[in-house]
Symmetry: C2
C-alpha cells in the first residue's frame, strides 16, 4: 500500500494530491483498507486492474471537500460511485466477519436519484443501518478517513453482535 501508484495507459485519472500527502496508512495498521482492496480485486475478473497498485485503486474513494462541492446533485449519480458505495459496505461486512466470525450481508436499496438505505444483516440482527443521500458526492477526505469510516462501522457492528449473540445466530 506504500508503493507509489503505477500509471497504466488507461482512462484512469491521477489520484488527488491528498492521497499522497495524507499520512499513508500501511497494510498493517489499516485492516479495513486491506479487506476493501481484496474485495475490489475480487471483482476484477478480466484482470484490467492487475497493473494498478492498491493505493491507486483506493484513490477512487478519495474525494476532497472541494472536489465534492463541484459534483452537481442534479440527475442520477454515476454508476461507478454507486458501485463504490456498495463495495464499501460489502467490505464492512467482510471486516465484521473477521472480527466476529459472523457473516454480515449487505442489502442496499437506492432510488435512482441518489438516496436510499443500506443495511448489514447478521442472522436476525441488523448490525448496521444507514440512510444515504446525495450519493453523487460519495467519497472520503483521505485514505486515513476511509480506513477510519470503515473500521468504526465494523467495530460498532461487532459490538452489537457481541451484545446480542443469540439474535445474530438465529
Amino acid at each position: 500500500m506504500t508503493d507509489a501508484p503505477t500509471y497504466t495507459a488507461s482512462t484512469y485519472t491521477a489520484p488527488a494530491d491528498t492521497a499522497q500527502t495524507d499520512t499513508a496508512p500501511t497494510a498493517v495498521d489499516s485492516p479495513f483498507l486491506t479487506v476493501l482492496v481484496r474485495l475490489l480485486r475480487a471483482e476484477d475478473s478480466h484482470g484490467a486492474w492487475e497493473r494498478r497498485s492498491d493505493a491507486d485503486l483506493l484513490a477512487d474513494y478519495i474525494v476532497t471537500r472541494e472536489e465534492r462541492r463541484l459534483i452537481p446533485l442534479i440527475g442520477d449519480p454515476d454508476p461507478d460511485t454507486l458501485w463504490r458505495v456498495e463495495k464499501f459496505y460489502g467490505a464492512v461486512g467482510l471486516r465484521i466477519e473477521q472480527l466476529t466470525g459472523q457473516v454480515a450481508s449487505p442489502m442496499m436499496k437506492m432510488h435512482h436519484e441518489g438516496f436510499g438505505r443500506v443495511v448489514l444483516l447478521a442472522g436476525r440482527l441488523v448490525v448496521l443501518s444507514r440512510h444515504l443521500r446525495d450519493v453523487h458526492r460519495y467519497g472520503h477526505d483521505s485514505l486515513a478517513r476511509l480506513e477510519e469510516a470503515g473500521e468504526t462501522a465494523a467495530q460498532e457492528a461487532a459490538a452489537l453482535i457481541r451484545r446480542f449473540p443469540e439474535v445474530a445466530d438465529a
Copy 2:
C-alpha cells in the same frame, strides 16, 4: 368483503372463479386482508379504484396453480406483479404493528429478472427474511390462502419481537 365484485368499465379482467367459489373470508375473520385492502386503497391517489369493491381489488392477488403455469418465466416480471409483492409485505409490516405496536419497515431488493430478497426490519431486529424467485408467477390460490400467508408471516414476526423486545426497541 362479502359483496359481489362490481365491474367497472376499466381494463380490469374478471377475477378468477376461485375467488368466488372459495369460502369467502369476511372482514371480521380476516385481519390481514383488511390491512392489505387499506394499504392498496391508500395508494389510489387518483380515485381510480373507488368503484372497485374490496373483493375485486384482492382478486388481482389470486392466481391459481393452472394460471401460474401459463405465465412464462422468460423476461422480466410484470411491474404490477412486483408492486403487488411489495404491497403484500408492506401489509405484513402494518399487521405486525397492529399486533405488537412496533413498526416493521420492508426492504425489498429485486434483480430485474424476478429474483431477490425481502426483509422486514423492526428496530435492530430482522423480523422476516425471504429470498424470492420466479416472482413473475407471484399469486395465491385463493383469498383464504392469501389471508393465511399474510397472517402467518405477521404472527411469526410478532413472536420474534416478543422474544427479543430489547433488539426490536434498539
